[in-house]
Amino acid sequence: MIKFQNVTKTYNHHNALSGINLDVRHGEFISLVGLSGAGKTTLFKLIIGEERIDGGQILIDDVDITQVKKSDLPYLRRKIGMVFQDIKLLPKRTAYENIAFAMEVCGHRIDKIHKEVPKILELVGLMHKKDSFPHEMSGGEKQRVAIARALSHRPVLLLADEPTGNLDEVNAAEVLDLLMKINKLGTTVILATHDAGLVNKVKKRVITIEAGKITLEQEKGKYKL
């Protein structure tokens, strides 16, 4: 599904990523493990086309994303959902409205939005919170709304960048369970984290990245750093 071939990314003569070779298959759940600054976020930015690579090639479903025009990037991003450590919900909108907003700005019809949003809220288990504002929800709930938002375009790939970074154990477990559930329903998930407990709980493919290089690849692996 995604192929990294000898990918290099440099910021100010500093190699953020070098010689990355990676093959992500459809329906996989990958834990991308590494300390802060190891290059996890850069990897994600390359996938959604926010940053351009300096060497190598990235193929998403056989499309070379370095060849994607800037004006076509939004359409690529609709196929890839993304969630962040800082969640990024709109504070003045309810859970429902936050998800609806994402669909609105991509040009979905209002009747489709009213049909889809409750389904997604149901999926993330937050139907009862649909009219709550972000400040009325727990960290885990907010992150689940963010995941719901990322799912609103039915993406084939979900990138989660330290989604539990600001959450306590209980909330983190909730979020992880949700990610695994989504993966079971068919969406490929890449989870970037440095939370050992989380990774060990998943027991799926683990890729360890250190100083911009992949240092370890394990099928059904554990957190090792």
């Binding site: 004006s71 609709r78 993304m82 700005v105 991509c106």
Partner: protein, 305 residues
């Protein structure tokens, strides 16, 4: 590119942006209004002066009065002579008989004059040539030629000075309006651009989070830019509406009075310069250009897409 749903949503968001900073939006629109009203006023002044000038210019000519009893052939020779000059636009000839007949017709209701005319044995009126030049500046030179020794024996009197002082004054006013007016409009246009630029920049800043999320969830670039452009267009529309209201009394009350004074025979409203809707359309174009320029620069500098 954009479907109708997205278009409507962009307009709606633009309106929301406008409403969120209501006072700032209002101030931006008012600065734009001031610019438009100044522009319109100067434009009207220019048009009025220009029109007056044209009206007066069309009445200017050189009248050449020939000596009484001069042979028509002789006059024709002089006429042909003058016609050779490239500066001359047209020459009309009024013979002594014609002049006499015209004089009679003009005064036919006055018994005293009619009676005196009947007593005359000889036509007291001279034959006349009316000369018009292409350019106003050429009148003195042509008049001088007609007054020269060459024609001294035939020409009795050359008359042209009448309206030149007025015309020169009007010309000066016109030049002043153009230079001063353009300067003033330019200054206000720059102020309007800066104020709108700042307002849009503030909106971009206020909506930073929304823009970031829009980008991440895959909103197209035009969908993200659209509301800011719409906001700029709204400032323009409001400014044009207010300017239109302010200028309406000028059109319905003041201009008719001035034009009647200048030349009651001419229908000024037939002229595009004095058409209210035409002017409003020009103001709209000007406003849209100003707001789009400033929005464009604000977006380019501050909107990260």
């Amino acid at each position: 590119m954009l479907d109708s749903i997205s278009f409507l949503r962009i307009i709606k968001t633009g309106l929301t942006n406008f409403g969120r900073n209501l006072w700032l939006s209002f101030a931006a629109s008012m600065v734009m209004t001031t610019t438009l009203v100044i522009f319109a006023t100067l434009f009207l002044l220019f048009a009025l002066t220009n029109y007056s000038l044209k009206t007066i210019q069309s009445t200017v000519d050189i009248s050449v009065y020939f000596k009484i009893g001069l042979a028509e052939e002789q006059i024709n020779n002089i006429k042909n002579d003058i016609q050779q000059d490239s500066r001359v636009k047209e020459i009309s000839y009024v013979s002594a008989t014609q002049a006499f007949e015209e004089f009679k017709t003009r005064h036919q209701d006055d018994p005293l004059i009619t009676q005196s005319l009947n007593e005359l044995t000889e036509n007291p009126l001279p034959a006349t040539l009316h000369v018009k030049t292409n350019l106003l500046e050429d009148y003195p030179a042509i008049a001088e030629i007609l007054q020269s020794d060459k024609y001294k024996d035939f020409v009795d009197k050359v008359n042209f000075e009448d309206n030149r002082v007025v015309i020169e004054r009007l010309n000066k006013i016109l030049k002043f309006i153009v230079t001063f007016g353009l300067g003033l409009v330019a200054v206000f246009a720059i102020i309007a651009i800066l104020v709108i630029y700042n307002t849009i920049t503030l909106t971009i800043y206020n909506r930073k989070e929304e823009v970031e999320i829009m980008r991440l969830v895959g909103a197209t670039n035009w969908y993200i830019r659209g509301p800011f452009l719409a906001e700029g267009v709204l400032y323009s529309l409001l400014a044009v509406a207010v300017s239109g209201l302010l200028l309406f009394p000028v059109f319905s009350k003041i201009i008719p009075k001035i034009t009647d004074y200048v030349n009651p025979q001419l229908n000024f409203y037939g002229h595009n310069f004095f058409n209210y809707w035409y002017l409003l359309l020009s103001l709209l174009v000007l406003a849209l250009v100003l707001s789009t320029v400033s929005t464009f620069f604000a977006i380019r500098k501050y909107l990260k897409i």
